[in-house]
């Protein structure tokens, strides 16, 4: 069985990954939209 410390570390790792990826999605979407306004 996975011990508690490893599980907590895994959980916070997953949270950090999701936050970073969500940020990337937002940046890409907004840049595409701004490209439209700039052109």
């Amino acid at each position: 069985m996975t011990d508690i410390t490893q599980k907590t570390r895994q959980q916070s790792g997953i949270q950090r990954t999701v936050m970073a990826l969500a940020l990337l999605v937002t940046v890409m979407f907004v840049s595409a939209a701004f490209l439209g306004f700039g052109a």
Partner: protein, 519 residues
């Protein structure tokens, strides 16, 4: 037992509706992909039937354009992408030694968006004015002028994109955080590697597609003029932003297939994969290059010469990492103890057809030559050699390779070989003559053609019917394997290596409740 309640799960419809289990969700994705493949396949038969002879035969030209558009959208977003996400859901947790995906509830949501999105897309065909008829690339001004069916399609694309983004976040979070102790990134199976890179590609480009689709919606309904020259906009802007998504999309469709080939070929050559590290770097290089080649789809719009040269050279550069991959697959097979069970047939067949598709891609990359090939059947032949010949062959290779593990039963090898050979021959009869049609100047997306193109078109139509019919064998073989058959061992294939083969066949509901150690 503490884990006993984990094994309890609802039965019947609620099992599938509420499931957070990676295997159940993988199955849902694969079943969905198969249904979409059938619908998209029938649409391709409408197209091929109309093209059986010159002149207008069966369908109205406007409906023909809708078929060409929706066939592509369904095959790309409904078949190939969900097919690979299905394989990823089933395999990635088992390959990296995890009990499930990192975000199981989001996994459920990613899937259940799909049937609604697909319904919207198919319903568009029944709207006043019909479905989208601008081609899957949805170029303005046609896509700005389309009826309400186009709005259904655009909303559907938004939903499909959301599903892909959520699925990709899940795959990255799983791979980066849930690998078994000892499984460093450079020890990870190639299928997990190619999916990790594919997921990053998806996250980078799906929001860009969403951005440009949103601009199209505002052009259609909210008085903006992003793509309307009369209002100071530019339809070419759409082409640039669309292909910034569209070209990486091609690699999104094909990289997971490369991953499957890299699993299957070593197993049936009974040798470790040749050049593992270079395979990883080549995949990453292909992904990087895919972002700087987009305008090779639009040489004919009138770009500065420097732009054309840049996109020509950067596109030709992709041949280097791709060549590394093909070299590695061949070197893996070199002096191996090879056998040709169905997964291997699909993998070797896939490498072969992909190489042809890659070479015609190089021809298209050459700017002056592309002025001749652009918008002809040569392009149709090229991308079907890549998307069908590599991606779909990859899905079949993966399904045959892993289905004994999933079901616990061996499939009927004899019938599976019939499936491969009939598809391979049907595929070649369909798409090889299209190279000649294109070189001779037959335009694509046109329901009528000049008389001299008749014979090759008839070959193509016969091949298309043969290919679609061969899929009935696939359906039968898979259904049979699900219902019963010879028991599969844990390892299934003599030469198979990896954590998934240490689990029983079929694997338990939660893959690894005790974390495996990787040396």
């Amino acid at each position: 037992m503490a884990t006993a309640h984990h094994a309890e799960h609802p039965t019947g419809f609620t099992r599938w509706l509420y499931t957070t289990n990676h295997k159940d969700i993988g199955t849902l994705y694969l079943v969905f992909a198969f249904i979409m493949a059938i619908i998209g396949g029938i649409m391709s038969l409408v197209i091929r039937s109309e093209l059986w002879q010159p002149g207008l035969q069966l369908v109205d030209p406007h409906f023909f354009n809708q078929m060409a558009t929706v066939h592509a959208l369904i095959m790309i977003f409904g078949f190939v992408m969900p097919g690979f996400v299905g394989l990823a859901n089933w395999q990635i947790p088992m390959m990296i030694g995890a009990p499930d995906m990192a975000l199981p509830r989001m996994n459920n949501w990613s899937f259940w968006i799909l049937p609604f999105a697909a319904t919207l897309l198919i319903m568009s065909l029944f709207m006043p004015g019909g479905g989208p008829a601008a081609g899957w690339t949805l170029y303005p001004p046609l896509s700005v002028q389309g009826g309400i069916g186009t709005d259904f399609t655009l909303l559907s694309i938004h939903l499909l994109g959301m599903s892909s983004i959520l699925g990709s976040i899940n795959i990255i979070a799983t791979i980066l955080n849930m690998r078994a102790p000892g499984m460093t990134l450079m020890k990870m199976p190639l299928f997990a590697w190619t999916w990790l890179i594919t997921a990053f590609l998806l996250i980078a480009v799906m929001p860009v597609l969403a951005g440009t689709v949103t601009m199209l919606i505002t052009d259609r309904h909210f008085g903006t003029h992003f793509f309307d020259a009369a209002g100071g906009g530019d339809p070419v802007l759409w082409q640039h932003v669309f292909w910034f998504f569209g070209h990486p999309e091609v690699y999104i469709l094909v990289l997971p297939a490369f991953g499957v080939f890299s699993q299957v070929i070593p197993t049936f050559a009974r040798k470790p994969l040749f050049g593992y590290d270079s395979m990883v770097y080549a995949t990453a290089s292909i992904a990087f290059l895919s972002f700087i080649v987009w305008a090779h789809h639009m040489y004919t719009v009138g770009m500065p010469l420097a732009g054309e040269l840049f996109f020509m050279y950067s596109t030709m550069l992709i041949a280097v990492p791709t060549g590394v991959k093909v070299f590695n697959w061949i070197s893996t097979m070199w002096r191996g103890s090879m056998t040709f069970e169905s997964p291997m047939l699909w993998a070797v067949g896939g490498v072969f057809t992909f190489t042809i598709g890659g070479l015609s891609g190089l021809m298209l990359a050459i700017t002056p030559a592309d002025f001749q090939y652009h918008d002809t059947y040569f392009v149709v032949a090229h991308f079907h050699y890549v998307i069908f010949g590599a991606s779909i062959f990859g899905i079949f290779a993966g399904v045959y390779y892993w289905i004994p593990k999933w079901t616990g039963h061996m499939y009927n090898e004899g019938l599976a070989k019939w499936h491969f050979w009939l598809t391979m021959i049907g595929f070649t009869i369909t798409f090889f003559p299209q190279h000649f049609l294109g070189l001779a100047g037959m335009p694509r997306r046109i329901p009528d053609y000049a008389l001299q193109f008749t014979e090759f078109n008839q070959w193509s139509t016969v091949g298309a019917f043969m290919t679609v019919a061969a899929q009935l064998i696939f359906f039968y073989v898979i259904t049979q394997a699900i219902r019963g058959g010879a028991r599969a061992t844990n390892k299934v294939w003599e030469g198979a290596e990896g954590l998934e083969w240490t689990l029983p066949s079929p694997p338990p509901y939660h893959s690894f409740t005790v974390v495996p150690k990787v040396k």
